[in-house]
């Protein structure tokens, strides 16, 4: 069992009469990418900022690398890297100046030129912050979060508002962090991002954590249904498929047939029957539920609502 790097127990935080986080408990293990997912306003950022020590929780206990984020804030800041959502820099600060300033704040830092080169920013060294594109700004923020080679990296909505190419570049960076042995705690409202990147995710809604686990586990647990869609001119699909054990229903529209079933064996069973019966198939595809379906099922609404 890997070491626990972050542990949060019954976290609660309110702003005035608004409850931002009502009850969140979770653990993040060393070297994993953990994602907190949920709609805007669900409490993702508040939870993350309490863990970083930027906000004081009303209830609950938090430990990061064995430290209390409030009491040991100074020691902790040397060991964590933080990227904020919607936080900018001085408009006319140059890229190298920002990196140099950040580097001056930490006891141990990595080589700034190497870091900028790794993030593809070496040609932008002398550019003002305001002239950078969205993706370049985010990469600079990543540079600032990584300048002191932190053990844990916090990334809040890092790819929001980026075009698909820039988003993919950021995903590669995050995977790179994991490969370097860092623990990554991120928030996102993009289910595809969470499913691709995260070893485990926590689903948060109305300030409470409602489910936690690996994307595959959550899909298997909450959305076991599978679908096979194939195109064929045969008429008696339902009868021929009757002995597929997990088959729930068949819907045919012209020559397109959709089989609803359940469990991992379902697809294989359908293929067996097709082969056994010698059915001539012109098209064949399977539809797997995703994390988005899990989210929809657990919360009763889509992430963008």
């Amino acid at each position: 069992m890997p070491r626990t790097v972050i542990s949060v127990s019954h976290l609660g935080k309110r702003y005035g009469s608004t409850v931002a986080v009502s009850d969140v408990s979770l653990e993040v293990h060393e070297g994993e990418i953990f994602g907190l997912i949920g709609p805007n306003g669900a409490g993702k950022t508040t939870t993350m900022e309490c863990v970083e020590g930027l906000r004081k929780p009303d209830r609950g206990t938090i430990h990061v690398l064995g430290l209390d984020p409030q009491r040991d804030a100074t020691a902790l800041r040397q060991r964590i890297g933080v990227q904020h959502q919607e936080a900018h820099l001085q408009k006319r600060i140059k890229v190298w100046e920002a990196v140099d300033l950040w580097a001056s704040l930490y006891a141990q830092v990595v080589d700034a030129n190497d870091l900028l080169a790794r993030l593809g920013l070496e040609e932008k060294r002398n550019a003002w912050f305001m002239t950078l594109s969205g993706g370049q700004k985010q990469r600079l923020f990543v540079a600032l979060a990584l300048i002191h080679d932190p053990e844990v990296v916090f990334l809040d909505e890092l790819t929001t508002g980026l075009d698909p190419q820039a988003r993919r570049a950021i995903w590669e960076l995050i995977v790179g962090m994991k490969e370097r042995g860092k623990t990554v705690f991120l928030t996102t409202h993009l289910m595809e991002e969470a499913e691709r990147l995260c070893d485990r995710v926590g689903i948060i809604e109305h300030g409470a954590l409602i489910e936690i686990g690996s994307p595959a586990e959550l899909v298997a647990k909450h959305c076991p249904e599978r679908r096979v869609v194939f195109t064929s001119d045969i008429a008696d699909v339902a009868a021929r498929m009757a002995d597929v054990p997990a088959l729930r229903s068949v819907a045919s529209a012209g020559s397109s047939h959709t089989l609803h079933g359940e469990g991992d064996a379902f697809t294989t069973d359908v293929i067996h029957v097709i082969a056994r019966e010698g059915i001539h198939v012109r098209g064949f595809r399977t539809e797997h539920p995703t994390l988005e379906d899990v989210f929809l099922k657990l919360t009763g609404h889509g992430i963008r609502d």
């Binding site: 930027l54 040397q78 820099l89 300033l101 704040l105 003002w128």
Partner: protein, 250 residues
């Protein structure tokens, strides 16, 4: 500790560079008061050629220019704090090992440095345009201006704490600070004002700043105006204490 001091100087230096890159930043805060001083100073000189008829007017012009420098520094501080807050820059800095006090002190230091530069330029301009009227101790006048600036800057922090968005920073700053200059005694003696306005004027740092700077200029000096200096320190302490309670980082 040493490392954090390095961070403080780095931040201060970055803020100076960023400010110098701002279009109209330097012209607005340094240029306009000095221009005002030069134009008014020349007008006065030409209107009163005889040396013995020189009234308080020339050095009041110098004090007005000095006060403008301080007030412009405050307006610029208020604007920067609110823009940095709105842009999340304060939040980003706060997540670093820099202490909150360090972050804000660097901003104040930048403004004070520009105030000193303005003062030097002002004095040099004064010696050229109004020879003979500028033989005040630069150190003493500089100290009075710095104390005044610090006191007015602390008031600026309160304004920066309570304004809702950066869009209102400039108008609210102006609405608070310009009437303060009007009541400071520079244009109209404070003791001739209606009583309620007198009470108000005595509570404002600008009034004491003007009295202290006038005192330094006319030779009565710090000993005669220690009450004004104390008032400026009290305003500074009170405003700083209130700002630590009211200040919002985001």
């Amino acid at each position: 500790m040493n490392g954090l001091l390095k961070g403080f100087w780095k931040l201060t230096w970055v803020e100076i560079k960023v400010f110098l890159r701002e279009p109209l930043g330097v012209v607005g805060t340094l240029g306009i008061p000095i221009l005002l001083f030069v134009v008014l100073g020349r007008t006065l000189r030409d209107a009163q050629p005889a040396a013995d008829t020189v009234s308080q007017a020339p050095f009041n012009v110098a004090i007005l220019a000095a006060l403008m420098i301080a007030v412009n520094a405050v307006m610029s501080l208020v604007a920067i704090i609110s823009i940095y807050r709105e842009g999340g820059i304060l939040k980003r800095l706060r997540a670093t090992p820099l202490s909150p006090l360090t972050i804000l002190s660097a901003q104040v230091l930048v403004k004070l440095l520009f105030t000193i530069v303005s003062l030097v330029l002002l004095m040099l301009a004064g010696r050229r345009i109004l020879p003979g009227t500028m033989n005040v101790s630069m150190i003493s006048f500089g100290a009075a201006l710095l104390l005044s600036s610090l006191s007015i800057l602390s008031l600026g922090f309160i304004i920066a704490s309570i304004i809702p968005t950066a869009r209102f920073a400039q108008p609210i700053g102006a609405a608070v600070l310009y009437p303060m200059i009007a009541l400071s005694g520079l244009f109209y003696p404070v003791d001739k004002l209606p009583t309620p306005l007198q009470v108000l004027a005595q509570a404002l740092p600008t009034t004491h700043a003007v009295a202290l700077m006038q005192g330094v200029w006319d030779g009565s000096g710090w000993s005669a105006h220690w009450m004004n200096a104390v008032a400026l320190v009290v305003v500074f302490a009170a405003c700083s204490a209130l700002s630590t309670r009211w200040f919002r980082w985001e």
